[in-house]
């Protein structure tokens, strides 16, 4: 779109919205948020950039094909579910580190599951929206 205001705003919106999506992802265990909403936010950030500058420039920022994010995220989610099997707990049991990490808080296998969901949602949403934009 040839609008100077929209272009200038979108360059500032992209890093801000990515930061906010990561904040929502990390907060998601005890408060509203989580992998799905965070992934949706990140996908919206890239979409606004693609509306302002065109699909080509956005694909240069993302570097890898968004379709590849889906298997990576699924492997991460299933892998975090498999980890408790090694210590003789049922599948998908939450395992937690004893001490909270600085800035992040408590880290456990649920966080890695959420990161997997985050990657799958980004990949699926961007694949759908990019193919729609290309076909219009």
């Amino acid at each position: 779109m040839k609008s100077l205001i929209f272009r200038t705003a979108s360059t500032y919106l992209l890093p801000l919205m990515l930061l906010f999506s990561i904040f929502i992802l990390l907060r998601g265990h005890y408060l509203p948020g989580g992998g799905f909403v965070g992934g949706l936010m990140a996908a919206i950030a890239f979409l606004i950039h693609s509306f302002a500058f065109g699909l080509k420039e956005t694909k240069e920022i993302i570097k890898i094909n968004p379709g590849y994010l889906m298997p990576i995220g699924l492997v991460l989610a299933v892998g975090s579910g498999m980890v408790p099997l090694f210590v003789n707990d049922p599948f998908l049991t939450g395992l937690w580190f004893e001490e909270p990490f600085r800035f992040i808080g408590m880290v456990g296998s649920a966080l890695f599951f959420d990161i997997g969901v985050y990657l799958v949602v980004i990949g699926a949403t961007l694949t759908i929206m990019f193919s729609i934009t290309e076909s219009v």
């Binding site: 929209f6 919205m17 919206i44």
Partner: protein
Amino acid sequence: MSLQEYFNLIIVPILGISVILVFIRFIKGPSLADRVIALDMLILISICIIAVYSIVYHQSTFLDIAMLFALIAFLSTTAYAFYLEKRERK
């Protein structure tokens, strides 16, 4: 009149009436652009309703939902504008 009564008796009815008026424009709207703006307006009013709800029930986390909703509304409006512009160029 307390703040609670003010919200329940004045603010919420005003928002409700405006939802009905905007919805009439959404159904009637002669052109597609009118409908897009009416949809944007509906989402803005619902953001106001979420804000009132979060004040009345002392739940600050609902404001994040309102913020997310505003972002999605902005995206949908720009997407509609983008596709309308593309269609007219053809």
